[in-house]
Symmetry: C2
Subunit: 330 residues, 2 copies
């Protein structure tokens, strides 16, 4: 990635953090500690601010002003952290970014309320945008949130379902992960005053990028060492998640692989040895290769969306974002 | 209450229910069952639709058109049910309106997600309003939601705090209960195009009404029989809630009463006999009378707000609403 774009991303991340600090009440106010301490804890956990940066560079590609859309960018990060807190409760996850999750550090009631609060602060931030397109932006944001709930619901339903198809899996990650990236790119373009056609292309770019991101996340669970990943190696397997890899084996794998994977997933406890065994099955049954291929296809789609915007629009930062996102940790 | 106003409220309730049905996906769609079944279950639990009706008559008082603000009215009911589902999780309540709560009928994870979904559908509904005042209405709604989280946080903090002052209690119910009624009246007036002064008066009317409503609720816990109330007699006492009655005894009662009440609230289990005993303390220490007086003062404030609007504005329906709300179950 060109040095000046790397620097730009770092600056934008700082701007977002500064703006978020203006949205939340300061710690010194001392108000409603059991609401605001967990909220600040979550927001100060050192996230990469990927989604707000994406919104800002999408806006900038259409010559929109960063300052004017900062409240929308901050809203994306507040919303993201709402989903993390509530998902962690539902997934019983004990750690996030190397620290105890909110429901473990405090308790599930406090985490529930902190998540509710963050979602509301996300709207407060978004509603500070001054734009004739604000109502439309809020609608895109809200529709995306509803799809996110649907995706989360499917994800949990799938945990007890051995017959998840690849179409169901792709639909689930589209709602749960990809849609959120699409919200960022679409709102960024919309608020910059992009045409309907261009806004649609940016939305598709965000969605393809998000699909690639999630499939890569599924792959990394079993291909990247714990120290690099910052989360437990094989944690998807241990939690019996229906990832791309699992679904591919169960829908495309030879009967022998399916039976072996089924046996692992139906055990009362899944050990570290089981995780390694599952990894071998994923490799031997061709799921790793299939995931890699799907990832490349979504990446190609994302690049194609950008190419259709060129040379009318400067897409260098968006290309660089894609590159950075998909090169993380590898 | 005049018959024609009673009829009007019934018609408005039906209109709200019809509108809500257009916001949620139909059951026949069969989508995301573990998200939408609990949402529909909550919305079909037979609520009185008090808050949306209040918004509609506030709007009508300023000659606003009901049809144009129906999406905002429906948003209030969707939002109300989000708070009920999440509060029930936090309070470990097993029944609501005579039926199992969502987290008991399904599980806390599903209830968490159903609440999240309802909050988002509330925004979807509100964002369908066509009005130059929509951004402001969304801001009022959002600010109110944040105060609601704060109120809920205080409510939970207070459960482990013997030293809650009357000012703290009143601040808590203002955020947790009264603010919501104020949102309804303020948004109703705003969307009807009322002046800033009139909108502020309507907001104060809603807040006073909400304070009276909550204090009455505290009173009813110990003064109204279970069959009439539809919730357990003395359930606030059993859950060690810092109600008006408890706080009044602990801050204004004679040492003897304080000690007796403290003993009850510090027991591992609070029995039916303890509830009756607490009721006697509330009566003898003057807390029932003080609550009754506070209730009347808030009622008077609410009436005063309306009087300041007359005769410029027709307030008959708002007076009738107040009367209906405070006469319920007694």
């Amino acid at each position: 990635m060109p040095k000046e774009i790397e620097k730009k991303f770092a600056i934008y991340k700082d701007r977002v953090n500064q703006y978020i600090a203006t949205i939340l009440p300061p710690a010194s106010a001392g108000e409603a500690k059991n609401l605001y301490e967990p909220i600040r804890y979550a927001m100060e956990g050192g996230g990469k601010r990927l989604r707000p940066v994406l919104l800002l560079i999408a806006c900038e590609a259409f010559k929109g002003k960063i300052e004017e859309v900062l409240p929308a960018a901050a809203a994306m990060e507040l919303m993201h952290n709402y989903t993390l807190i509530h998902d962690d409760i539902m997934d019983r996850d004990a750690t996030r970014r190397g620290r105890p999750t909110v429901h473990c550090k405090w308790n599930p009631d406090i985490a529930l309320l902190a998540g509710d609060g963050l979602l509301t602060f996300a709207y407060r931030s978004l509603l500070r945008v001054n734009s004739p397109h604000l109502q439309k932006a809020c609608q895109i944001f809200t529709d995306g949130l509803i799809e996110l709930c649907e995706g989360q619901s499917y994800d949990h339903d799938f945990e007890h379902d051995d017959g998840v198809s690849m179409a169901q899996y792709l639909d689930m990650i589209k709602r749960k992960t990809a849609r959120f990236f699409a919200i960022c790119t679409e709102i960024g373009a919309l608020l910059a005053g992009a045409s309907a056609t261009h806004t649609r292309l940016l939305r598709r770019f965000g969605e393809s990028l998000g699909m690639a991101f999630q499939i890569q996340d599924d792959l990394f669970d079993i291909t990247v060492a714990q120290e690099i990943l910052g989360k437990d190696f094989g944690s998807d397997v241990k939690r019996r998640k229906r990832t791309f890899l699992y679904v591919h084996v169960m829908t495309h794998g030879a009967p022998e692989y399916r039976a072996r994977l089924q046996r692992i997933f139906h055990q009362a406890e899944i050990s570290a040895a089981d995780v390694l065994h599952a990894g071998e099955i994923f490799r031997d049954a061709g799921a790793l290769a299939a995931a890699e291929q799907a990832l490349q296809e979504y990446l190609q789609e994302a690049h194609d969306c950008l190419k259709r915007l060129e040379p009318a629009i400067a897409t260098a930062a968006l290309h660089a974002f894609l590159e950075m996102l998909l090169k993380r940790r590898s």
